[in-house]
């Protein structure tokens, strides 16, 4: 049911959204699109990934999301290679009968993509290039989803 793709090419958010919305049991589709931001003189960004592990790591978190929320479909697309400001980077789309499950699962998946999927960004600014450092805020965002013992799924 889940679609997971890693690719150099762009993706079509509207087409992916339409595909997930098909079916009588879907009442809500949430889509999140991450976009290459052009502030601070950013010229381009190159995304490196660990082929094989990236797909497997995303699949593990999609399976967890499917176990925690009543989802009718999940699509995760992550681009790699060189991107320029305005380019799409990542799409997370979740379909459910009701919005609560779709919103929560989309946010959960994005938080884990940031901290646990093996991707690394290298930014180019005015001739100089540097690897992006991991942000503490992202670790804190992912930690929110850690289940406490005895806690029921939301």
């Amino acid at each position: 049911m889940a679609t997971i793709r890693l690719q150099r090419e762009d993706f079509d958010v509207a087409a992916e959204q339409r595909r997930l919305a098909q079916g009588a049991v879907v009442g809500a589709v949430v889509t999140f699109t991450g976009i290459c931001r052009g502030d601070g003189g950013l010229v381009a960004m190159t995304l490196e990934h660990y082929p094989g592990m990236a797909e497997e790591e995303i699949a593990r978190h999609v399976a967890e999301a499917e176990a925690r929320w009543a989802l009718r479909g999940v699509t995760v697309i992550h681009r790699h290679g060189r991107l320029v400001p305005g380019d799409n980077i990542v799409l997370v789309a979740t379909a459910a009968a009701h919005r609560g499950d779709a919103f929560a699962a989309a946010e959960f998946l994005m938080d884990y993509l940031k901290t646990s999927a093996p991707f690394w960004k290298r930014e180019e600014r005015a001739g100089a290039a540097a690897w992006v450092e991991a942000r503490r805020e992202d670790d804190a965002a992912a930690a929110r989803w850690t289940k406490r013992p005895g806690e029921a799924a939301e």
């Binding site: 991450g34 995304l47 490196e48 990934h49 660990y50 094989g52 592990m53 990236a54 497997e56 790591e57 992550h78 980077i89 990542v90 994005m110 993509l113 940031k114 901290t115 646990s116 999927a117 093996p118 991707f119 690394w120 960004k121 290298r122 690897w131 992006v132 450092e133 991991a134 992202d138």
Partner: protein, 109 residues
């Protein structure tokens, strides 16, 4: 359990390490992002000595192989590791590992 099936932990460890498939070919190691750049390779196959039992041991052993490795692992707590495509902690055992990867904290999404 039959008396003949008992092993002391040391022997069991040796048995597992020696019998895992691909042992003869050594251990494949992959490097990503600035870890890759500092070491100057994307991957290599190594044959660490038998006393290298954990990911942490492997980091220490690699660090002794040259300044490029020492530079990549100068702050070992920053570098993350995976065994056979799953995240692991430094105390994870290497027994049976086919592919070990080292990389900085992830910055995707």
């Amino acid at each position: 359990m039959l008396e003949s099936q008992k092993h002391d932990p040391e022997k069991l460890q040796t048995f597992r390490t020696r019998s895992c498939p691909g042992d003869e070919a050594g251990m494949k190691i992959l490097y990503f992002a600035w870890v890759r750049e500092r070491i100057g390779k994307t991957e290599e196959t190594v044959e660490p000595p038998a006393d290298v039992r954990t990911v942490g041991d492997l980091v220490a052993w690699l660090s002794g192989r040259g300044e490029e490795y020492a530079y990549a692992f100068e702050n070992p707590r920053v570098v993350r590791a995976a065994i056979d495509r799953a995240h692991v902690k430094p105390d994870a055992p290497l027994a049976g590992a086919r592919e070990v990867a080292f990389f900085p904290p992830m910055t995707g999404g």
